[in-house]
């Protein structure tokens, strides 16, 4: 990780979540099912995968690159502010993967599974990344 990237996710950092285009409703709101933690039996990555804008930019990449890495025909990218996710009771941390820079985790601050109302509340504040509109 580059030295200028802090461990703590800054409040104004944009947090991206990949979602299938078919999971965006006609009014632009994503389905609540977009915001689930992974159900991995070993618990190693039992969280919701996200990407952080500061690391993406430092690596010279863009939201368009993120979308294209997963397939622009199938996926779109939803955007949040880190502070807004924390206000919803979410915890964020960095967890690098080889496929793309800026990968991280989003999980309930109390480590519980995200409930349906909590998923719905994330759906209501999620927006398709402006760069993709």
């Amino acid at each position: 990780m580059a030295a200028e990237i802090p461990d703590e996710i800054p409040p104004d950092c944009t947090v991206y979540r990949l979602a299938k285009k078919e999971d965006i409703k006609p009014d632009g709101t994503p389905k609540s099912s977009c915001f689930s933690d992974k159900a991995e039996e070993d618990g190693s990555s039992n969280y919701m995968s996200v990407f952080f804008s500061d690391e993406i930019q430092t690596a010279g990449k863009s939201v368009l690159d993120l979308q294209q890495a997963w397939g622009a025909d199938k996926y779109t990218v939803l955007a949040f502010r880190a502070a807004d996710l924390r206000e919803q009771g979410e915890r964020l941390w960095r967890d690098a993967i080889d496929e793309f820079p800026g990968h991280g985790a989003c999980k309930r601050a109390n480590s519980a599974n995200r409930t349906l109302p909590q998923k719905r509340n994330l759906a209501k504040i999620a927006r398709v990344a402006p760069e993709l509109l």
Binding site: K31, S32, S33, C34, A39, M48, R120
Partner: protein, 159 residues
Amino acid sequence: MTLAEFEGIAPNSTDVAIASANGSGTLLDPKQIRISRPGPDASVSTLLRPEQHPPAWVERLVREEIPAKDDYGLIKLETLVRFAQACSALPDRTPKPYYGVGDDATIGAEWDIGQFHVGIQVGNDPALDSIIFEVDRGEPEESDNVGILPALMLSILPD
């Protein structure tokens, strides 16, 4: 209107019987939906009560469309059956929901009907089963009694 108003009129889960059966996935008769997938548990039929006339979209949703969205094969057959049960008693004029399969092995379905939002979640872990009701994009109200879905829907659907 609150979810608590519907708790007393939801059908008991024992009203809906589940029977194992062999077969490749055919509609047995208008009151019975057979769900099947390859594997040792072959198939399960959800037997509907005589007065039930599920919306036309239920069968295809359960048999084809939800499994097609289950990219990682997470959803268990019994989870599909419980989801079918939740939808089978819906008023037949209920529109097809927006639906999805979550990475946490849950099936989600949701309806935006006028000022109302209704969502259900049925999971491999029944403890994750949930229904939410929301008015004017306010704070969602939640119950773990998914069986109240038909009565709730009946109360908000336009005539």
